[in-house]
Symmetry: C2
Subunit: 358 residues, 2 copies
């Protein structure tokens, strides 16, 4: 049978290799010379493969046992990885239900809904999955979305919980979307990679390499149909992820492990400082095991957040945005001196409001 080109995506990213391309709609003239100095390779300014640069995907595949580079897609941050995954599930399976752990990262419900899917919820217990509740709620859904270490709870799932979750979802043929953007920020143990034929691992360079603004994330789907569907969507909705950022991500991956280890030490010190500081102020909160968030209890959380912002110039997030009313979320991604000043402002704000902490 004659080979057939079904769509233009197959051509994108082919440069040279003996081909004459009348195909691609991109200028071959160089960009203005003075908008960049070092990363000045012309190649980086051309469209790239929708899936992402092969060298970057190859480097990622080496990091995950059993992974193949063609099962990765490089995305505009973990956000787009999630958005594309749910849009792909919508295209493949229609208007199905997605199980979300509550409290959740605030974008989860809207991302699921924007894709035309319906979120349902399992309630976390002390910031971690309650496997009994999970077992009940997983019936009838097509996908579950988990996030360990968790934003906003700062908790890390126990390995036996993750293994049980693997068993249940595999039996039911349910997708597991595992958002692991904080996997390099676990203080207690190494990361446990969820296994199974329907697992989609989502990750990012933002947190590990302090590259948030560059919006460079990725996904690894064990089921190639998902990656194909995602590429079929992304070719229309955003095309390749920024090529320069992909090059930078690749370079970041080759820094010595001590870079990440040194950071983790800093995070632990900050975690201890903030946990102690908030405890001393009378807050009740879970001790974070990963990521860089705490989620202490406080009544009137929206008022607290607003007043801290307008009256004390302190930014905190309302727990309600994360499905955790009567809590606020604080990140400790700032240095100890600033945290000290922030805690002192919170302390003066709290004067006379001590009963809100009960």
């Amino acid at each position: 049978m004659r080979k057939r080109i079904d769509n233009p995506a197959a051509f994108i990213g082919i440069n040279g290799e003996g081909y004459i391309s009348f195909g691609s709609g991109q200028p071959d003239l160089p960009p203005p010379a003075d908008i960049f100095k070092s990363l000045a390779s012309k190649r980086l300014f051309k469209y790239g493969p929708i899936k992402g640069e092969p060298r970057l995907r190859a480097a990622l595949a080496k990091e995950y046992p059993g992974a193949k580079q063609e099962d990765f897609a490089i995305t505009n941050g973990a956000s787009e990885a999630l958005d594309l995954t749910f849009r792909a599930i919508r295209e493949l399976h229609g208007k199905v239900k997605v199980l979300i752990c509550r409290p959740y990262y605030y974008s989860y419900p809207p991302i699921v809904e924007l894709a035309g899917l319906t979120p349902v919820y399992t309630e976390l217990k002390e910031g971690r999955i309650d496997i009994e509740d999970f077992k009940k709620k997983v019936r009838g859904v097509k996908a579950v979305l988990i996030n360990s270490p968790s934003n906003p709870t700062g908790r890390v799932e126990a390995i036996p919980t993750l293994k049980e979750l693997e068993k249940i979802t595999q039996k039911l043929g349910v997708y597991v979307i595992s958002d692991e953007v904080y996997k390099d920020l676990i203080y207690e143990r190494g990361n446990y990679l969820i296994k199974g034929p329907h697992v989609i691992t989502v990750n990012s360079f933002s947190k590990t390499y302090s590259m948030c603004g560059l919006r460079i994330g990725y996904l690894w789907a064990r089921d190639p149909k998902i990656v194909k569907q995602i590429v079929d969507i992304k070719v229309h909705t955003s095309m390749n992820t920024n090529t320069l950022a992909q090059e930078m991500a690749l370079r970041a991956m080759s820094v010595p492990e001590s870079f990440v280890e040194a950071q983790t030490k800093i995070w632990m010190g900050r975690r201890d400082f903030l946990y102690q500081g908030l405890t001393d102020l009378g807050f009740s909160l879970w001790k974070p095991e990963g990521a860089f968030y705490v989620l202490p209890k406080i009544k009137n959380s929206n008022r607290v957040v607003s007043e801290l912002f307008y009256k004390h110039k302190v930014i905190t997030y309302d727990g309600a945005w994360f499905g955790a009313p009567d809590r606020i979320r604080l990140s400790y991604a700032l240095d100890v001196d600033k945290m000290k000043e922030g805690l002192s402002r919170i302390a003066s704000y709290l004067k006379g409001k001590e009963k809100w902490l009960k």
Copy 2:
């Protein structure tokens, strides 16, 4: 009334200014020093405002008479600008219809459908809008999508047509999404900017500054409700557009106009070369007035595209992908020597197939 923070998006991009931020989930540690040399400002590696860098939006607002910077959003290329616009229309108006000119850029129908909207079509006449057909088809739609200069026809709409289109759509209260990514590549006249309260102008730095791989585009909506809705979606689906690319786009805007003019001269020379070359081979085609595409007639277009690719290593696009069966699309974004070689391969392929050109 007490000011109220309704969602975390309001905080994003606030750095310093006397605030203590426990809010933003981004590391404040520096990225690995050796992944970048010049563009090494720490600021560029942090999350930025979802709408885009204020300095870039301010520079853009100066380019468009009457524009305000808050009505712009910077996006992952024009693709994401379109995707977000249609998703916003879906959120604001439900499952409405969108009028698309055929032949169209191949992503238009899927972008509209992925947003949950329904495309309907008006047929172009000689590659340009047929205003009589347009008038009939515009009844009952909520938005029209136009593209002048057109990919794939290479045609530029006549100003009287655009003025009539303005009048009709304004009367009906229909959104006009005007994809103007080739506006700096018009050979016959300056760009005519569509006016009206429901106009959304979409543009990109890709084509003008040869920065396709960086995926940096934008939209300017006259109706602030659209921009607000777009930001409400983008905060979840991709967050800010790559900060480094935004900085580069800003620098690109300050290169002298002679940069763009010199490019346009090159494009005109290539256009003349390819138009003449294809005409000499017996093709029937429209002379491009803008962009860098031709869309000559040929029967069995998919077979032609496939055989040119596999047997002659020549890439062309099937017109059917653009809603133009029995045509192929050729870009002239390559130098004259390569075009010469390509034309000679096409000539040998066409031997004995001359009747396909009739």
